[in-house]
């Protein structure tokens, strides 16, 4: 049983110091920007919540947000099951396990801009292999012009890039399940599918929680790979919220707007993550999974 002791906060001081430095000060600065408007020649002017209102009313924002939500939902739906399936298929012992671990982990180790660039080359109409393969099966693939092609390529790229994270986490989680549970399920006559649902999945809950949260957060903020692959196009198909943010902040010098957008963006991520957090940590346990263990 854990002990109740408020002095535990002392252990947290180093962490809090480091994070506070990085978290609060920049945050305050952004908040500062968000409630002001910088007029050329006149300096900063307080505008209260105007910037926030502008953001929320902006069609571009609403569109980008909608696309973003769709994108994040889609990749979660693909990557989590796929990652778990891959983990189930990976060997557990021997050199094959090492080879599998290293191979599967490779996409995670590539700088994100390189990922974007590789996929760019991969998908270019003139020199890319993907259009070539599609052409062989009779489909004219064109990432620059076709909204469908662009969107699904972006999804595919993210799946390629990040499924390994779920796979590695799930792999470790799987290996932590004692054999006895599977043995008991065999004795009880459970089918493989049923065993998966009552034994495997519940015991993967913790690793999957962190995997899902990480993927949600990162996918919601995705920028560089897409920017290099499609530039947000064609049109606005693959332009999600980050893209809008960068345009306004860097391209348009609308810093107040950008700051407000940032905060709204941040807030949305926090809220949705918190919902995920609550749901995932309470699934199947109806209450806190703390304490009382043998």
């Amino acid at each position: 049983m854990k002990r109740v002791d408020q002095r535990a906060w002392l252990f947290l001081i180093p962490a809090l110091l480091v994070l506070s430095l990085n978290a609060f000060i920049p945050l305050m600065t952004v908040v500062n920007y968000s409630v002001q408007d910088i007029l050329p020649g006149l300096g900063a002017v307080w505008v209260g919540f105007d910037n926030f209102e502008n953001v929320l009313r902006d069609r571009s924002f609403q569109g980008a947000l909608g696309r973003q939500l769709g994108f994040s939902a889609l990749i979660l739906l693909i990557q989590v099951p796929l990652g778990v399936l891959v983990a189930l298929g990976m060997p557990k012992k021997g050199w094959q396990a090492t080879a599998a671990l290293v191979t599967i982990g490779l996409p995670l180790l590539i700088p994100w801009n390189v990922v974007g660039i590789i996929w760019r080359v991969f998908t270019r109409s003139d020199i890319g292999i993907l259009p070539f393969l599609f052409d062989r099966i009779g489909y004219t693939y064109n990432i620059a012009n076709s909204q469908v092609d662009a969107y699904w390529t972006v999804v595919l790229m993210d799946v390629w890039h990040w499924t390994p994270l779920i796979a590695l986490l799930a792999y470790s989680g799987l290996n932590a399940i004692p054999d006895a549970f599977y043995q008991a399920a065999r004795i009880d006559g459970a089918t493989r599918w049923r065993t998966f649902w009552v034994v495997t999945l519940p015991r993967l809950r913790n690793v999957l929680t962190i995997g899902i949260l990480l993927r949600f957060m990162d996918s919601f903020r995705i920028y560089i790979e897409i920017s290099l692959l499609t530039g947000g196009g064609p049109g606005r198909t693959t332009a999600f919220v980050s893209d809008l943010l960068v345009n306004r902040a860097v391209g348009g010098f609308e810093f107040g707007y950008a700051a407000a957008l940032s905060l709204i963006y941040f807030f949305i991520i926090i809220v949705i993550s918190y919902l995920f957090f609550l749901v995932l940590t309470n699934v199947g346990t109806s209450g806190q999974a703390q304490g009382g263990d043998a």
Binding site: P178, A180, F181, Q183, A184, R186, I187, D188, G189, A190, T191, R194, V198, V199, P202, R203, G284, T285, S286, A289, G292, A294
Partner: protein, 359 residues
């Protein structure tokens, strides 16, 4: 209810050492048995072979005379309880118990009836709606056990050191429940453990294993009083049996100055045997500060107390032995004690094997 037999069973994992060697054991229908041995003796392997989780490299498994070696765990209809509680954590107790039945596609009404009956028998009725993971370890093991016996016509209940993670107070209760369960249902039960106390209190028949082989099978008393190997003498009983180097002479077997009388027919058999050893339990050694007929003197080197008895470390000739004496006996280091070995409690061993003698 079933008679389980292992015939010529040997098993190795991959290309490792043989974990189990040529095991031939019969567990009669309805008997509460224990499989006792130190870690690594192969007892869990044997259990897994019985339940069908493992297919033996060699040998056959027979249930009621039928060869079931090829059958898997589900088909053999056994229940197995593991060292730590194995629960389906997302289900409540009722659903946990119902799990095996539903997998068999039993009609729900029947499922309910069996679950409730089993819960009642195990004292779990009040917990049926609780979430499995909220229970303490002892209760969880009871649920595991209940889940094992909820199915109809279970052939046997196999328990693999089920009390390992249970608190000491709860252990006693759970042991009694197991015994009560056996008395009530008459199911064949096989209890694997390294704890000889658990084995001897639970079982009517005990099979002792060491290094992959069966050393002896018998009732607790037989194992305690007449172990076939010195190893069993050590392993069972606290303190373990005394093993003393002995010589065969004309009138009997001697350990230093003390001779245990045997008839000529016995002594003739014994002379010439290598490595003769005499085994006697500390509690059966007769000891007294006053001289004993046909006894011998031993010097007391140390005295331990266990709280309700004394363990006297004495030296008889060149051999050291332990004697259990009543607390009230006033014996101290340096004393002289008269020792005698009653012949009915003496075990003779040559080259590690027991010699049968008619006392």
């Amino acid at each position: 209810m079933a008679r389980i037999e292992l015939s010529g069973v040997s098993h190795r994992y991959g290309n490792d050492e043989w974990a189990v060697r040529n095991v031939n054991v019969i567990w009669e229908d309805g008997v509460a048995s224990a499989l006792l041995g130190p870690s690594g003796s192969g007892k869990t392997t044997v259990l897994d072979i019985i339940s069908g989780l493992l297919r033996p490299t060699e040998g056959r498994v027979l249930v009621d005379g039928r060869d079931v070696t090829g059958m898997n765990a589900r088909e053999r209809n056994v229940a197995q309880v593991f060292q730590f509680p194995v629960m389906y954590e997302t289900l409540n107790v009722f659903d946990n118990l119902a799990f095996p039945l539903r997998n068999q596609k039993m009609p729900e009404a029947e499922v309910r009836q069996r679950v409730e009956a089993t819960a009642e028998m195990m004292g779990l009725t009040g917990l049926l709606r609780q979430n499995a993971h909220k229970l303490g370890a002892a209760e969880q093991q009871r649920v595991s056990l209940a889940r094992g016996i909820v199915r109809k016509d279970i052939s046997a209940v196999l328990l693999d050191e089920p009390l390992t993670v249970i608190d000491p107070q709860a252990k006693w209760h759970l042991r009694r429940q197991l015994k009560a369960l056996h008395e009530r249902t008459g199911i064949t039960m096989i209890y694997v453990t390294h704890d000889q106390h658990e084995a001897l209190t639970f079982a009517d028949r005990v099979t002792v294993m060491n290094l992959g082989s069966v050393v002896q099978t018998g009732t607790p008393t037989e194992l305690h009083d007449r172990p076939h190997r010195p190893f069993i003498g050590y392993f069972i009983g606290t303190p373990g049996m005394n093993l003393l180097d002995a010589q065969a002479g004309e009138s009997g077997v001697s350990v230093g100055p003390l001779t245990v009388p045997y008839g000529a027919d016995v002594t003739k058999r014994l002379t010439g045997r290598d490595a003769l050893q005499l085994g006697i339990r500390p509690e059966y050694v007769e000891a007294s500060p006053q001289p004993l007929d046909s006894g011998a003197e031993a010097s007391v080197e140390d005295v331990d107390t266990t709280g309700h008895s004394l363990i006297v470390h004495a030296r008889l000739g060149e051999e050291a032995l332990k004697v259990t004496m009543d607390e009230a006996a006033s014996v101290v280091r340096g004393d002289t004690l008269w020792i005698r070995f009653p012949v009915e409690h003496v075990n003779l061993y040559s080259e590690g094997e027991r010699i049968e003698v008619d006392a």
